[in-house]
């Protein structure tokens, strides 16, 4: 995770772009976080969002998971090849895990629910801007669920073994996040440093995004069926 120079020069205020189809929600977020970050633009659908993000090149895009023109992941997919420095934080009011996992797998660096407080949202934006991963308790639960879909000993050995399984330590960290612990509390609890906690979470994010493990997709389809 390379530190980014741009936002440090402008007094550590991340430049934020908001993509959400609800005008009410956009203006609400803007007024809640506007004094601590620079909101450089907003869009209400996939196409305008892609164009305007390419133009304004924000540090962080706050991305609604559900958009009328193809869902949040379409914006991530279209943007990340051209502008890999733009980072995405997914937001949603919905619990549908398959949609959340899809946006994360498309490349978003975190997921929070829309009920999050303004202060917490600013904190999450800052962490994403710095290249960290932001896992809400709910996302941690989804990930544990997804990777637990098949017992470890029943999994066939594969070349991507490292990508397809969570280490016991990563599992522990995720559990603590799901229990509502902050990174600092997790570090204290597991006798590791803050940085180590961050690297565990980043590694889980990487596995989530890169694993081709078919169970992950099957898990998502199973969820849709139940």
């Amino acid at each position: 995770m390379s530190a980014r120079g741009t936002q440090d020069e402008s007094g550590n205020r991340p430049r934020v772009f908001i993509v959400d189809d609800h005008g009410l929600f956009r203006s609400g977020v803007r007024s809640e976080i506007g004094d601590r970050v620079d909101v450089v633009g907003e869009a209400d659908d996939v196409e305008p969002a892609i164009a305007m993000i390419a133009e304004s090149l924000p540090d962080v895009v706050l991305l609604d998971v559900h958009l009328p023109g193809g869902g949040g992941q379409a914006v991530v997919t279209a943007t990340k090849t051209m502008h890999p420095d733009v980072r995405f934080l997914a937001l949603s009011a919905s619990d549908a895990p398959e949609d959340v996992i899809a946006v994360i797998r498309a490349g978003a660096r975190g997921y929070v629910t829309k009920t999050i407080s303004g202060a917490e949202l600013v904190h999450a934006i800052q962490r994403v801007a710095e290249g960290e991963a932001v896992f809400s308790p709910r996302l941690a639960g989804f990930v544990l669920d997804a990777f637990a879909a098949l017992p470890v000993d029943a999994a066939p050995p594969s070349f991507d073994d490292e990508l397809d399984q969570l280490t016991p330590r990563e599992r522990e960290v995720l559990r603590l996040i799901a229990r509502g612990y902050t990174y600092k509390e997790i570090a204290r609890d597991l006798f590791i440093s803050n940085k180590t906690v961050e690297s565990h979470v980043s590694s889980v994010l990487r596995k989530l995004q890169l694993s081709t493990r078919h169970q992950l997709t099957r898990w998502a389809t199973d969820r849709r069926l139940t």
Binding site: D145, A148, G180, D222
Partner: protein, 395 residues
Amino acid sequence: MAAGLAARRGLDVTFVRVAFVVAALASGFGVAAYVVAWLLVPAAGESNNIASKALADRAGIALAAVLGSLLLTVLLIASVLGAGWLGSLAGPMVITVAGIVLIWRNAPSDDQATLRRVVEPLLGVRQHNRRSHIVLRASIASLLLVGGLLVLLIGRASSASLQPLGGVALVIAAIVIVLGPWWLRIARDLVVERQARIRAEERADMAARVHDSVLQTLALIQRRVDEPQQVIQLARAQERELRSWLFDGRAPGSIEEAGMTFAGGVRCIQQDVEAQHGVNVDAVIVGDCELDDNLSALLAAAREATVNAAKWSGAYVISLFAEVEPKEVSLFVRDRGRGFDINAVAGDRKGLTESVHARMARRGGSASVRSVPGEGTEVSLKMPRIAGVTPLSPA
């Protein structure tokens, strides 16, 4: 009906009835006249007759016309095949069928009930005895087949009758070609009409549900603007209900008691504690399984711990995390409230020791409490799974 006519004309009821029956037996026109009278004479206590309503029902008129023209075609075929007696009934039959269609679609409900009573015995036979239905169909089909073959044989024998037959066939083909598309369109219109009605019903059902839940809650929220905690609580409860309806297909306000799984039980705790104590409960659940006695005990202990946190911690948010693993189910209740000194807990905090610890221990599980004054409390509960209870498919 006869009574209605009699009253209008100032005649005796019995006389009108007898006249109808005689007319019906003599030729089909009696029946036709009866149906037309049904259309035109207003029922007792009603100012409009059915016909005036029927005039407004364009789909009904079209349908009547379609059935009438179809029947005409059939009768034409029949008359060609030499069944002259059918021909004499043709006019009345066409009028009767068209009239009944219009009545069916526009009659008040008790008239429809009358018609249904007449038709039901026929349908009843079909439903009650499928075998006899099949036999009936088969015999009609074989009769038709034999009749058709006979006609063909006769036709071969005398070439004189072959020519008019060919002519008639052409006429029928022409009618079908001219009117066929129209018949089809009318049939399709009927289907569309029915679909529209189904959609309208669904919309009404949805509106009723949204009214019962969302609109009521919004009204409540508007009345309680001064109590933010109440408003949050209402909004949360509504959100959960809407979610379970949209994503899990559960009707608002219903929680299935029977067949509830462990995850369902945790959500139940979340819901009840939020409703009763005005705090937010965030529940994260990994995996799911069937409930057994041990897990019910675990849920009871978790409920106690959550209620305790809601009552004593002073925190606005309580986090619930439950994980179902192959050998064990664990559940954590955490708050960021005021916390307490565990060693100094007086005997009056019976809830924790008795309900939580003892309940878990009796079932072979364990409970531990960690609390730091000023930082909050976490209750950890663990319960071994009974061997042989298989987990649900990944949920």
